[in-house]
Point group: C2
Chain length 151, copies 2
DNA sequence: GTCAAAGTTTACGTTAACGTAAAGTGTATG
DNA sequence: CATACACTTTACGTTAACGTAAACTTTGAC
């Protein structure tokens, strides 16, 4: 939010040989960190908070596609102002889904509905804030114009 | 964000006599607090952080329309995940506008552009998150349906 | 083998945004 | 006049989300 992080668009070379299993490669913590512009510390912290659960190869953490996706979703949630606790709630429910009982599933639907309502509120907030910024923008340009004329 | 604050819709009695100056009434800190569902402490804190500057009547803080609007904007910014420092930046620039020099005005326009870009990123994040939630929702309902059939 | 790079654990530090408690002031009301 | 209520200042406490430092292991390169 306050990071001014310009989204890094890594240009993939289009001449890569098709992988046999293009979906199931793994990542080190450093790779993920660079990929998402966070520190390894952050990723370990998310694990500690129950948001990630990478395999181990000896001592080292091995991240799979699923982990990468989870990290992506987590960071997206963060950008939208959700707390890690809130994000975990959704993520864990989602994982518990396949064998979930009716009560759990209904709870999940409830949570989803809540989050959706919050997103809707955010959309409205964004809309209003944009209007205000348009106004400020216009005034500033006007003022600049005035300065130019009589300057 | 994590407050589950249901927006309180205060039903205004429609039989109030028309105020002579309907726009320039004042508010106590408690009134504003209730109005926006925050504590007085929060409002005082925002003042301390340079986001509000109410008049005083003796020792007591007197808030005017302008202050109320500022508080509203501040809370909106917060809901969108902006820090108080970021919010202050915009608000103070805005206030310095009328007599602003060209450099300040351009700086303001820059800030506005940055914030706008951030809002756009948020819109995209919301869009993606919604898609994912739609998916989770559908799966959960399917699973519930299955349980109902073979239950 | 050794050196650098990347990884690990443990633990204390930091910042933002308030919460909470104590102690005092002002005023309207029974 | 006493009491209740809303307000004030001062100051220490708390939580989330990491940062940072220290000390150690693993691993590929030379």
């Amino acid at each position: 939010m306050s990071k001014t992080a310009s989204a890094s668009r890594a240009a993939g070379s289009s001449s890569e040989a098709r992988q046999p299993t293009p979906i199931s490669r793994t990542y080190s913590i450093g790779e993920l960190a660079k990929m998402f512009e966070v520190t390894p510390r952050t990723i370990r912290f998310y694990e500690q908070e129950g948001l990630l659960a990478p395999r181990r190869q000896g001592q080292k953490r091995i991240y799979r596609e699923k982990d990468r996706v989870r990290l992506k979703l987590t960071l997206r949630g963060k950008r939208l102002g959700f707390s890690l606790a809130e994000i975990r709630e959704v993520v864990m429910m989602y994982d518990a889904m396949p064998d979930g009982n009716a009560r759990q599933l209904k709870r999940l639907l409830e949570i989803i509905a809540e989050k959706r309502a919050e997103l809707d509120r955010q959309l409205e907030d964004i809309r209003l804030m944009r209007l205000e910024m348009d106004d400020v923008d216009r005034r500033a340009r006007d003022a600049l114009g005035q300065l130019g004329e009589k300057g």
